[in-house]
Symmetry: C2
Subunit: 435 residues, 2 copies
């Protein structure tokens, strides 16, 4: 079996952890497998380098940031190669360019355009363990070193697995896999055995931080099986693949997990003109700035109760000829959206804009959300927990609800339990593993 | 003018110093010069990386040590590029391989085999400031990253200056140049205006640490003028070149400087057989281990005084048919030499071996040492200071004496003063510069 293993910064925080990972790698290798290792930078290295950059420059050029940051993965890779060597196996570390990771020229957020892992293959053929510095590549035209942006090391690992036709790409982290909910919020959350790319994409988009969408997209496009697992335990982790995870879905509900995100801003735009293009005009202001909108709702300006009363007043009919838009953006984009809408208010002709960052989003992910009655069940479950739902949106495999930020944890727990995802087994077995 | 400037670790210790160096670089560039920068790793970075390596491996492979250590220069170069950019000038950092520094495959102590600085030249032609990571190169055959060993960044700078036909290679350090003696020992020591390659080589070989022999050799072979100067002052420093430094030599004496080294072991081998090959046999033991011998002396077994007495004893004639060898090796090689000689004693057939590490070597460097009477003057000067000379050796441009370690500083001061090198000017002018 050919396995690409990627180890994140927390698995490589100090020399002691590096030695423990090396032991795991050597064990796998001695088991008769071909192993390729991708390392992130150690612990907080990247943050420390960014801090140094800020101390010498107010606006460091992206090209130089890439040269700076890529040193982190070179260090962790070389140290891991030494630690493997120290255990008697042969290992060679390769920088991104040496491993044939070619990217476009977009410094700081480069895209992989080609992977030509000749030297990786050669090392494998010699029976050695090649290590590839994650997160980095080289632009063939300029010869400049690039970085892949956030989650880049995962992308390196998946891209290598695709190019080498590896049997599996193991992503090692500090948790036992992809969980049915954030275990810090839901004590009875458990790692999923298997999950499809599509489900994983929705999980990632709605708050599961263990894998980023970009890496999952790459894996889906190139048919790479990913296994997310912990470098601190022997738990098998979660398989992310194409196969519809019969065993992963909880019997009867087909709901894979509950995700949540605290970083949400609800934007309400009042008195939007009724002309057909007005809604698009409002959303274009946000889209032009490259800010994605998640949940979206368009309503009459007056609430249902108010509309009944409007029959008595002709003037009220006039008021209801204008609409109200509500949508959500990520919390960090909130202030910018408010600013942009303020700038364009007169041109587009809408009324007051209200931004509320004191909200959270909870999502059910899984094929089961398409079943009839699921929205009602979600509302009932949350209502029984005393939680007020402000907004609901649904896609093919997820159902999201907006609620008050201080009710978010309760909402996650209510749905996890209400949709039958709770399990005592994992918590019992893994109590005291120090996760 | 095209200038290659090399900045050492102490000039780049923290972001503040990096910003100060950047200011100096930008000033030079704005003055209408083409500037190429070579940076060492920041402060103690290399030591910290070596420490990490030791924590993961008892015997780290040299290839991986090179991958690890070269990250240090990438960091300092990128930060310097940012700091220059922050001051409004254009700068691009290049790793050793990007700058076309090709070496042999001897990891940890690679030799430069070719410098093809196309990208450096391109950057200059664009009016930009190229920065090259010092100490590192790449082996063309294997594609592996190499390091040049101790003093490697100086070699990078000189090699680039040669390849680019630069007008001068400025080596920035934390002192004002090459001194007439170590200023920590001799308060009246002063930086030399100019010095020849040959003199600099002897200075380096006998204790001046500011430039290593290897870098000076490279400069001499490729006719590169080196200027050693401080990154903290505007002192012009010392020019190391081919021109016989008329102005550098102190009038009348032609002695350039006094150097010293505390790391010496005196080895005495007693009762060496008189057969012609015996001396060579002893020295071969040391040479075979790659250990260089500096001072050397062969004497009859009995001292001059004892030999007068020997006329009275026939048996003493027999004793004097065996000889005694005395030579010096560097202090760190002392224990190994003692061990080696012990192993080969029976085969070669010599007597007791005595090693004394409690000695120091003081040297006069300069063309003036060839003048008649100079050895006598050295002995008289040291005798007047109450210092006993144990061994003397002379080459074309240096004269070295071995003395007790605790008398070394006094010996250095006596010679510096006795050969007219003292100058109050520098000390007065530079008092309070905080050097």
């Amino acid at each position: 079996m050919l396995v690409v293993q990627k180890y994140g910064g927390s698995s490589l925080q100090d020399p002691d952890r590096i030695r423990r990972v090396a032991e795991r790698v050597v064990r796998m290798h001695r088991g008769g497998h071909e192993v390729v290792i991708v390392c992130s930078a150690m612990g907080d290295t990247s943050d420390e380098l960014i801090d140094l950059a800020r101390q010498v420059s107010g606006d460091p050029p992206a090209r130089e940031m890439d040269m700076l940051l890529t040193s982190g993965e070179r260090v962790s890779n070389a140290l891991m190669a030494m630690a493997i060597h120290d255990r008697g196996s042969s290992a060679q570390s390769l920088a991104g360019d040496q491993a044939g990771v070619f990217t476009d020229a977009a410094h700081g957020r480069a895209r992989i355009v080609e992977v030509a892992p000749d030297r990786v293959r050669e090392a494998l053929d010699r029976g050695s363990i090649p290590l590839v510095a994650g997160f980095q590549g080289v632009n063939r035209e300029t010869g400049d070193i690039t970085t892949l942006g956030r989650g880049g090391s995962d992308v390196t690992a998946v891209a290598l697995a695709a190019a080498l036709k590896a049997d599996v790409c193991e992503i090692y982290t500090d948790v036992d896999g992809v969980f049915s909910a954030d275990p810090r919020v839901v004590r009875s959350a458990r790692p999923l055995e298997a999950i499809t790319y599509e489900e994983m994409l929705e999980m990632a988009a709605t708050g599961a931080k263990v894998l980023m969408s970009r890496c999952v997209e790459y894996a889906r496009r190139h048919h790479v099986d990913i296994r997310v697992r912990s470098s601190f335990t022997d738990h098998p982790g979660t398989l992310v693949s194409n196969s519809v995870g019969g065993s992963s879905a909880v019997e009867g509900s087909h709901i894979t997990g509950v995700t949540h995100t605290r970083s949400v801003t609800r934007v309400t735009v009042e008195d939007v003109p009724v002309r057909p293009s007005a809604t698009a005009d409002v959303l274009d202001v946000v889209a032009a700035a490259g800010i994605p909108v998640d949940m979206f709702q368009k309503t009459g300006a007056q609430k249902a109760g108010a509309q009944k009363a409007s029959a008595q007043h002709a003037g009220a009919e006039n008021a209801s000829s204008r609409t109200e838009l509500t949508f959500t953006v990520s919390g960090e984009d909130g202030p910018r959206v408010a600013e942009l809408l303020g700038e364009h208010r007169d041109r587009v002709g809408f009324g007051a804009v209200r931004c509320d960052g004191d909200v959270g989003q909870v999502s059910l992910v899984g094929a089961g959300v398409r079943e009839p009655g699921i929205v009602a069940r979600l509302c009932r479950t949350l209502a029984e927990a005393g939680i007020d739902v402000q907004l609901i949106s649904a896609s093919e495999i997820r159902l999201s609800a907006l609620c008050r930020a201080d009710e978010l944890d309760a909402a996650v727990r209510a749905l996890h339990s209400g949709f039958g995802l709770d399990s005592d087994t994992y918590a019992t077995v893994h109590a005291g593993t120090g996760r």
